[in-house]
């Protein structure tokens, strides 16, 4: 009985498995193939003995990491910056996408979209130079304006509290336009008839946004939110490294920069791997947790 069921299931669905074959091979070779490298976190890595030949040290490396004050500072800052990003930088592209979607003039809409994503293409080193020219205390563009008006200069980059604002602004500027693309693609999926019907009912703009547009892209928002939550403990290297500086290291030192300075630059591969493993575990738990919560609360899940 069961066997028959299985055969019909297979006959009907073998194509799906065929489609999965190459991708799964890909993940096995290129992602799982090198995965033996995680054992470096439990070994004192010697470049010349290789991963297999290096000496096991148990949890020594983790002990060293968890005894390091800078690690906890970096961990705290990673969570802090990511949380601020979640509050400020996560909704920004959504709002922007809705605004673009509401534009009536087609050529302007197209033009605006093309321009908004330009910042995504400027490399961080160059952004770093521009940030200094805009936010610098001594000769920055904004402070020149302020002092020109007889106001005091604001240390956007060298005071750690102001720096948080600068960090967020740069992040929004760099990624919001790029982030709109996904939402715009989702918005095109909404049935136009819904808007027409709402118009007949005399619904205002905000009503349409909140009752049609936003619900229409609910899945996309939830998907991105879940993935963002999964990434709460990992953070890109470039933005904190480039926008940050020694004067604000109390806030700008995050896990990625910590690993770079303490692990990679000093050749302490074991330490870098241990931090990475810790991040991976926590990240996976966060993601599964967020997915579970989202399933229960909003009936949206990615798994």
């Amino acid at each position: 009985m069961k066997a028959v069921k299985n055969t019909t299931y297979l006959r009907r669905n073998w194509q799906l498995y065929a489609l999965l074959m190459l991708p799964v091979i890909y993940f096995l070779i290129f992602k799982y193939g090198p995965m033996y490298g995680v054992q470096i976190a439990f070994k004192e890595f010697n470049f010349f003995e290789g991963i297999a030949g290096s000496e096991w040290v148990g949890l020594d490396i983790f002990r060293e990491v968890f005894q390091n004050n800078d690690f906890f500072k970096a961990l705290r800052n990673t969570l802090l910056l990511n949380l601020l990003d979640l509050i400020i930088s996560f909704p920004a592209p959504l709002i922007l996408a809705i605004m673009l979607y509401e534009l009536r003039i087609i050529w302007f809409k197209k033009f605006a979209q093309t321009i908004l994503y330009v910042p995504h293409f400027i490399s961080w080193v160059i952004i770093g130079g521009i940030v200094l020219q805009v936010f610098g205390t001594e000769s920055g563009f904004i402070n020149n304006l302020l002092t020109g008006m007889g106001l005091d200069a604001i240390p956007f980059l060298s005071n750690k509290h102001y720096w948080l604002i600068t960090y967020l602004l740069v992040g929004v500027w760099q990624s919001a336009g790029w982030g709109t693309i996904l939402y715009l693609a989702a918005l095109t999926g909404i049935n136009k008839e819904l808007f027409e019907a709402a118009e007949v009912d005399g619904a205002g703009r905000f009503k349409k946004i909140f009752h049609i547009s936003l619900p229409g892209i609910k899945t996309t928002i939830a998907t991105l939110l879940i993935i963002n939550l999964g990434n709460m403990i990992s953070i890109g290297f470039d933005r904190p490294f480039i926008v940050g500086n020694v004067a604000v290291r109390d806030y700008s030192e995050v896990l990625s920069t910590f690993v770079y300075r303490v692990g990679i630059e000093s050749g302490q591969i074991s330490l870098a791997t241990a931090v990475g493993l810790f991040q991976a575990l926590v990240g996976l738990i966060f993601l599964l947790g967020a997915n579970y919560a989202s399933k229960k609360l909003a009936d949206e899940s990615i798994l």
């Binding site: 498995y17 074959m21 799964v24 091979i25 470049f47 390091n68 004050n69 200094l132 020694v246 000093s266």
Partner: protein
Amino acid sequence: MTTRGSKKWASPAIAVLMASTMLLSACSSKEDTASGNAGSGSPEPATLKVEVFDRGNTPSGYTISDSYLTRLVQERFGKPNNIDVEFVPVPRSEEIQKLNVLMASKSEVPDIVFTYDSGTFNRYAEQGGLTDLTELIDEYAPNLKKFLGEDTLAYGQYNGKQFALPGRRLVLGKYAGYVRQDWLDKLGLPAPTNTEELYTTLKAFKEQDPGNTGGKVIPFGVSLAAAQYEPLIWSFIKPLTDEQRYTLTQQLGSSDYPALLPGFEDALKFMNKLYNEGLMSKDFGLDKDKKQLWQSLQNGLVGFYTEDAGEPYFTWNDFYENLQTNVPGASITPVDTFTNAAGEHAKPAYAPNAMYVMIPKSSSNAVAALKYLDWMASDTNLFDIQFGVENENYTLENGVPVVKPDATSEITDRLYNFGDIAVIVNGKFAGDDAKNEAAYIAQTPEKFQADMKKSVEISNVDTIQPVRFGHPIEAEAKYGTALADKFQEIIVKMTMIKPEQFESTYDSMIKDYMASGGQAILDERTAAYKEMTSK
């Protein structure tokens, strides 16, 4: 869907995939052998792989691994010895990361590799990844041994064995100060010759604004680069006993750091005072690459600064020319200002070594590699690599090669990358010390050469020599990079902090520094010193 069902389906699927995995790798390896054999010629020459830095500045018509100089190497060294010299580019900014990976791969690592980073060299030596050259060098590289000399070679030893051949550094002086001569003249002030006079001068620059900058004047230009703060800080270090010198100095990366030396706190206090009195660049903590400083200098806003000796006279960014265009009549003079308690113009100098040139243990070409380096130190080979062709790239004046200023770019491009090919030396080697210095000065335009000469002289006055133990301090290799960053953090924070918070913050920052590895280095150095003196 039940879990049971899914398990059943997952495992056969994975088995199939594993099989295809092998198939895929088999295919790709075939493809590679086909392409890999191309390009070899006559009776099986050996291949010698040599690392070369890629800085992304290859001139048109060349590639990083095929240029005038690589052809010269092949012609003069490769052909006679039946060796194919292959240059393997390593990106300059990620050199350590890539070198680590290459080393770990064994098969891909070049036969000759190099780095400036002493921590990386020590790590490789400690982990047993380098060829011991102690005897090989006598046998195969006598010219090189003579060229480098005992002093320099000592830097490549690890526990008495020669694991690296350190490049020989020719210019050992580091820093000089520069002051706006036209501002001094306008105010009727003499050039400052000690720290106190400098302070008076800076004050005068601030209050009287001789450059009419409209309040934008920066009496003392500072960036986050060592050249801007090291001369000041080291001049505050008190006279040291030998024991203090050995135990309290911390070598982080390639330089000695004064974080634990007596007088360091006074240096920071002085910087703090300058900063809070508005005498110093406000944004110096943000100026990682000197760009802000250069900008202010060229706009004629800076009154005084310290720099790598002679930097203003090199023409790569036309700084001095630009200053004089932007501010007609502006001129700068080299000065030796910061004085220590003994009245000396103490300032750090370089150790006589440069890059650590290494031959990995996995290399089967150690002899050929040494022969290549020996070849470079022989006859006129090094000279030709660094200076090019006579009467085209340079002319000889009293035996000193002087770069022809009117050479076409086609001719100057020949020397592209010469510094990274001539790894056995740092600086241009013209024959002997006097000629080297003359050639060094002759690199700058004629009108600046008098000031250039003076800069070099200043940089060699009362220099503080780096401290060296017979064997490396392991904690320095481990914590060095992180501590060097902490050191900068201390400087920036202690300078910018309000004077009344100075004491308490200083104590907590030093405490943090000690906890992050400073103490470990101190302990190891103290033990090493005991061992050294007991012998």
